[in-house]
Amino acid sequence: MTDTPSPLEIHDLTVSYQRKPVLYGIDLVVGEGSLVGVIGPNGAGKSTLIKSIMGMIPHNGGWVKIFGKPPGKSCSRVGYVPQRESVDWDFPVSVLDVVLMGRYNHAGWFRRVGKKDRRIACECLEKVNMLPFADRQIGKLSGGQQQRVFLARALAQESDLYLMDEPFAGVDAVTEKAIIEVLRELKSQGKSLVVVHHDLSTAREYFDQLVLLNMRLIAVGKVEDTFTRDLLQKTYGGRLTIFTEVADQSAGIREYDKERRSVSSME
């Protein structure tokens, strides 16, 4: 172990939603200044991974450490970009208000955001070319513009670790390019980024490390090592269907148990 704890360390993380298992035994270490893409098929638990790292979903086993501390203790060092669908776009806030939210943990409770925060927010908006829209209601932007605002908010947080849930979903090509440029710039400043991504065709070009995920960790490592036909087949292909089937069956075992017991008691 080195002296400085790594930005993100996950050990044997297991999560299940109600009765259905979603993630099994995930081990992951993200180093400083790395741009990590998380890819996998629908329902593979990509968003769940991000949310359980943030501590929003309780996990059944394992632990998560962010800069050597449990998730709740290091909020100010983590920036989170949620999925676009999770937000109420009709809410009466302007673009600048949204970006200022990124400064809230710097301002503290009961205090209002100051001039300096406002300046930083404007600079972040400028970086994603959204400053002219600062006064507009957030719902009156296009999908790509909304995603840029989210990115600006993450920038305003001035965190060291960023967790992004599908920042490229439903955005136009220009925005996609703008976003990836900002991500690379952050990386060059020594920040670490974990980005959930759904598009295999661009994954190779965007990231320098990949996490292949399908309920359990298939592979993790440099793009050259992980973006192979074999591993992708394993992530997206049919071999794992048995695994999920077993999981589904195990959810039904209880019913089966009950029946068997009632049968045996009759005998």
Binding site: K51, M54, G55, M56, G72, C75, S76, V78, G79, Y80, P82, S86, V87, D88, F91, P92, V93, S94, L96, D97, V98, L100, M101, Y104, N105, A107, W109, F110, R112, V113, K115, R118, R119, A121, C122, E126, L131, A134, D135, Q137, I138, R153, Q157, L163
Partner: protein
């Protein structure tokens, strides 16, 4: 960039006008109050209004205070819950507190507002907790869950209240006033409770403004920056319960939810900023409270609660119809205006095409030709031509005087202004066709429909850019001349 952050958004500036309001409240409290029946005497309308407006009457002061505080508290809480799509939670909560009211009453054996407040708050919390439990453990949808808790708790409350009324001490209690409310029954301690709940609500909205904003907009993000989202949510429920319970005795169970929803919904039509929305909503609530109680004071048998709600609904209706930006009437007018403009432009275009068909040798067009080209009936064509004439786009010449009755053909000639507009439209249309065929690789027979729509909205700037891209073309894909700026200036096409 400087302009934006040197102009700070007044995130707490809106609370400044509240200072006189608070001072007024204190002044009203300081004045001596008498428990007179309001509206008891048979004065004239003017005397009654004077009595109300001068606030000389103790009971009037009580009523005004009560409705002001109620409107204020419900307005702000309503602003919070309406923007979070929780309007119907307010409704559910106002019904769910009823068993708590009954228990509080039983416990204290009197209409003591503190016991009832505590009981009702507990019942309200139980209701909200039950809703979230149902949501978490079953597949029952939100609306059904709300309905279940609302009616179940309400029925329990009704059972208890009817039972209390049949008991000895229940009869003279006036506990049934909780169903419909009665502003006259307000006591001074009720007012103190209301003032306290309003103060708490004000504190929440001012000091936790940014926390409430971020949890309402994006609760996942709020959680990620370490805010205790659940705690804040419960704080919101608590204050909502306070404002509902204190308002119950004024307007009753059902109409409380109206006071929560209507002012906030009206405010949400007016503004898109949270701080302004809360301010407008509180103001509308107060205004509706005072005006409603004023009207009820003027009449003899007018109940206060429904009148307050109806005044507030009237505010909403006016805003919905006439608000300059979101009002339905301004929107309808502007869309009708643009419909008419498009119609005129199409007529002008047809006139141009007729002139073009005659190689611009004549300067007049028979209206019958125009009707044929536009594929409309003659009366319709006359109507369109008339609207051109009133807008000074064209003049008509009729050999026999009266236009519509004569058998002679009516002739139309364009004024310079009409000529310019016609040229502009035709130019837009043909340029756009050319742009689509040359740059976007459309087939020439696919571009007409699109150009029909685009021609009315192309700005001068865009037209110039298209011209530059196409390097000032002269002919459209169908081989027709595109009128140039020079043609427009000259007044004829060469």
């Amino acid at each position: 960039m400087n302009a934006i952050y040197s102009n700070p958004i007044p995130s707490r500036g809106w609370c400044i006008p509240l200072v006189p309001f608070a001072l007024g409240c204190i002044a009203l409290f300081a004045l001596p109050a008498h428990g007179e029946q309001i509206g008891g005497t048979n004065d004239g309308l003017l005397e009654r209004s004077l009595r109300f407006l001068s606030l000389s009457d103790g009971s009037v002061r009580m009523v005004v205070m009560g409705t002001l505080l109620m409107g204020f508290g419900c307005g702000i809480m309503g602003g919070h819950i309406v923007t979070r799509r929780l309007s119907l939670f307010g409704d559910t909560l106002s019904h769910a507190v009823l068993p708590g009211v009954a228990v509080g009453f039983l416990w204290s054996q009197s209409k003591d507002s503190w016991a009832i407040l505590i009981g009702a708050t507990l019942a309200g919390f139980l209701g909200v907790a039950l809703i979230s439990m149902i949501r978490k453990t079953t597949r029952i949808r939100q609306d059904s869950a709300l309905g279940l808790v609302l009616s179940g708790f309400y029925a329990l409350g009704i059972c208890m209240l009817t039972r209390i009324q049949k008991m000895e001490f229940g009869n003279q209690s006036g506990i049934d006033k909780y169903l419909f409310g009665q502003v006259v029954g307000l006591s001074e301690s009720d007012l103190w409770t209301m003032l306290l709940s309003c103060a708490l609500i004000l504190l929440l909205s001012v000091f936790l403004y940014k926390e409430m904003l971020v949890t309402g907009f994006d609760s996942d993000f709020a959680r990620s920056i370490g805010l205790p989202v659940e705690l804040l949510q419960y704080l919101l429920w608590l204050l909502l319960a306070f404002s509902v319970i204190t308002s119950l005795q004024v307007v009753g169970v059902v109409l409380v939810s109206a006071l929560l929803v209507i002012p906030a919904a009206t405010a949400s039509l007016m503004t898109e900023k949270m701080d302004r929305l809360l301010f407008c909503s509180a103001l509308l609530g107060c205004a509706a409270g005072v005006i409603g109680s004023f009207i009820s004071f003027l009449g003899s048998h007018l109940p206060t609660g429904p009148l307050i709600v109806l005044v507030s609904a009237a505010f909403f209706l006016v805003t919905l119809l006439f608000h300059p930006r979101t009002g339905l009437l301004p929107q309808w007018l502007s869309s009708r205006g643009s419909d008419r403009r498009i119609l005129r432009e199409n007529t002008l275009k047809a006139a141009y095409q007729e002139l073009e068909a005659m190689d611009f040798k004549q300067e007049i067009v028979p209206v019958s030709q125009l009707a044929r080209r536009r594929r409309i009936s003659m009366p319709q064509a006359y109507r369109e031509v008339e609207s051109l004439v009133t807008k000074k786009f064209a003049t008509i010449h009729s050999p026999a005087g009266d236009a519509s009755l004569s058998l002679q053909p009516v002739l139309l000639s364009l004024t310079p202004k009409g000529w310019e507009t016609a040229c502009r439209i035709v130019r837009n249309h043909r340029l756009w066709e050319l742009y689509l065929t040359n740059e976007a690789r459309y087939a020439p027979d696919h571009v007409h429909e699109d150009a029909e729509k685009i021609e009315h909205v192309l700005g001068e700037e865009t037209v110039r850019r298209i011209e530059r891209i196409l390097s000032n073309p002269r002919r459209d894909p169908h081989g027709k001349l595109i009128p140039s700026q020079q043609d427009i200036d000259r007044g004829f096409v060469a």
